[in-house]
């Protein structure tokens, strides 16, 4: 079988259980305030890459790629300890404040320096929650977009996915190279083993700057962003509701609540 290069794009995000807030000075996410973790859906992306590798006879390499500040290296290490073969970290002071279009551009430039037959991503990051990067990256690369996959089949050079749609699913097919995004139904991610954690320390880890990938800094960072936040205000917390034990009239009282609010 032909060798296959898989690149998994992963993102470090604030722990989703932690309170998130925007820095008052520049309306940007206060990333230092919360614990940072591997974006949950990206674990599924890494797992899917590892499963593809394990199911193939031919030579397969799984490289994880992430763009983010210095401490993103921890998250790349976590993916290595799950079993990825190599890590690439795109980090540059000029990246601070980059928006989604800029991120897709920078990742595309980085991918331009790496062999890749298949790019696998999560379908959404828990902090940005835009769900746009996989499609944007396919656009930047001019490669096939196979997103929101709950099932992936690779047969020689053809990939077939079941794409979730608003009323069911579609079976979508393309020739490699392709950009995939996965939803959580696709698999159950493994935990890093002790052996995996030890092995991760010796795996190739490459750090790239914007100059290394030939990306134009003018298109990146806050100045390159195509959108601007004018204002960010905390909204009053939801006022505590009325929670009552069912004393035998719970359904009746619920009906009264709905009627009082004109829903019934």
């Amino acid at each position: 079988m032909e060798p296959l290069s898989i690149v998994v794009c992963i993102k470090q995000v604030p722990d989703s259980w932690a309170e998130k807030s925007l820095r008052p000075a520049d309306h940007r996410l206060d990333r230092d305030a919360a614990d940072a973790v591997l974006n949950e859906l990206d674990e599924y992306a890494v797992e899917e890459a590892l499963r593809i590798k394990e199911s193939r006879d031919g030579e397969t390499t799984v490289t994880v790629l992430s763009m983010g500040p210095d401490r993103t290296a921890e998250t790349l290490r976590k993916a290595l300890s799950m079993g990825a073969d190599a890590a690439v970290h795109l980090v540059d002071p000029a990246l601070e404040g980059t928006d989604a279009v800029g991120t897709s551009y920078a990742l595309a430039r980085a991918l331009g320096t790496m062999p890749h037959d298949l790019v696998i991503m999560g379908s959404e990051s828990t902090d940005a929650r835009m769900s746009v990067l996989p499609a944007m990256l396919a656009e930047q690369l001019g490669e096939a977009q196979l997103t929101f996959a709950r099932k992936v089949d690779l047969d020689a050079s053809t990939v077939t996915v079941e794409r979730l749609t608003t009323d069911g699913y579609a079976t979508v097919r393309a020739e490699l190279p392709a950009v995939l995004s996965v939803v959580e139904k696709i698999n159950e991610p493994r935990y890093p083993s002790f052996k995996g954690i030890m092995a991760a320390k010796k795996k190739p880890f490459t750090t790239l700057s914007l100059a290394d990938v030939g990306a134009d800094p003018a298109q990146l960072g806050l100045t390159g962003a195509g959108t601007r936040v004018l204002e960010a205000t905390p909204r009053p917390a939801r006022s505590a509701g009325e929670i009552t034990d069912d004393d035998g009239t719970g359904g009746t009282r619920l009906a009264a609540f709905l009627a009082a609010h004109s829903f019934a």
Binding site: S131, E139, Q145, G226, T227
Partner: protein, 317 residues
């Protein structure tokens, strides 16, 4: 007057309510122009006319349906180049966001996703971090591409007789690399779509099986609601995946959300926590869903829901 392009979200020509909301807003910002891709424009025409689409651009090439996202982006990009619209508005469905994202890259524009408000200066309101923060932002480069959540403002009719123009689709080679070989529809029937519904009734593991969902459908029909489900319920096969509400399912923001036998995990909350009024039935007082609920009943759903139905019947006399 400059045009505002609205990508029509439809199912074989049946136009979603969210699209009518976008047309309503487009009329405030300029001249509303609907962009209709795929088959079914005859079905769609009356609704688009009633909600004030002065122009309907129609791209009915079979490529529109055979390849996801790419050809739609090609149509919008061509229309933007030709007409320099004020903005492009797209409904914030999973596919709508993808169209918007790719279009922004192709045009070199900025993109804003999930707007819940939009003023005449194209300043967008977004609710981030589960609705805890309100952000006002603006596109600063190129023709603004904006995705808008359904139910963000009411749709108001303003009938016109639209001019209709056929659009030749010229997808770039990269737009047709992925091909749809089969489509399976798992939802249907007469209930409203999750995105359109003003009331959503959702069930979780607590329903215990498909029979629980029959009970829930009874409640939904009584309230004119769409039916949603938690991942636990869709994974168990009790209800179609397409009805999943949450991070990897649908995001809904109805007037009323009724959560029955759902614990309220963070991934579920991600899809419903901006609902206006939230009601929950759960036998566990500690369930996190109660943190969001305006009204909650701690009790067994198999007694609470039938009693609720009975009482609703009584009230309607």
């Amino acid at each position: 007057m400059s045009q505002v392009l609205v990508l029509v979200d439809h199912r074989e020509g049946v136009v979603s309510k969210g699209t009518l909301e976008l047309l309503t807003k487009a009329r405030e910002l300029g001249e509303a122009a609907a962009v209709f891709c795929g088959p079914g424009v005859d079905t769609a025409r009356p609704a688009l006319a009633e909600y004030g689409a002065a122009t309907i651009y129609v791209a009915s090439d079979p490529a529109m349906d055979q390849h996801p996202v790419g050809p739609t982006v090609a149509v919008l990009a061509a229309l933007v180049a030709e007409h320099s619209p004020v903005a492009v508005l797209v409904l914030a469905t999973a596919e709508g966001r993808e169209v918007a994202g790719r279009l922004a890259v192709r045009l070199g524009s900025g993109v804003i996703t999930d707007a819940v408000g939009l003023d005449v200066d194209l300043v967008c309101d977004q609710q981030v971090f589960g609705g805890s923060t309100l952000v006002r932002s603006q596109v600063t480069r190129g023709v603004p591409v904006i995705t808008v959540r359904p139910n963000s403002w009411p749709a108001q009719p303003s009938p016109v007789t639209p001019a209709e123009l056929a659009v030749e689709v010229a997808p770039a080679p990269a737009d047709t690399l992925a091909t749809v070989v089969d489509r399976v529809r798992e939802t249907g029937g007469d209930r409203p779509d999750l995105a359109d519904a003003t009331v959503v009734v959702s069930g979780g593991r607590g329903l215990g099986g498909p029979d629980g969902f029959t009970l829930l459908e009874g409640l939904a029909d009584r309230l004119g609601a769409a039916v949603g489900a938690s991942r636990a319920a869709t994974d168990a096969g009790w209800y179609p995946h397409a009805n999943q509400v949450g991070q990897t399912g649908r995001t809904v923001s109805p007037q009323l959300y009724v959560a029955v036998g759902i614990s309220g995990a963070i991934q579920h909350r991600a899809g419903m926590q901006t609902s206006k009024t939230i009601v929950a039935v759960n036998k566990d007082r500690e369930a996190p869903i109660f943190e969001l609920a305006d009204f909650g009943v701690v009790g067994d759903l198999f007694t609470v829901v039938p009693q609720l139905l009975e009482e609703l019947d009584k009230r309607s006399g």
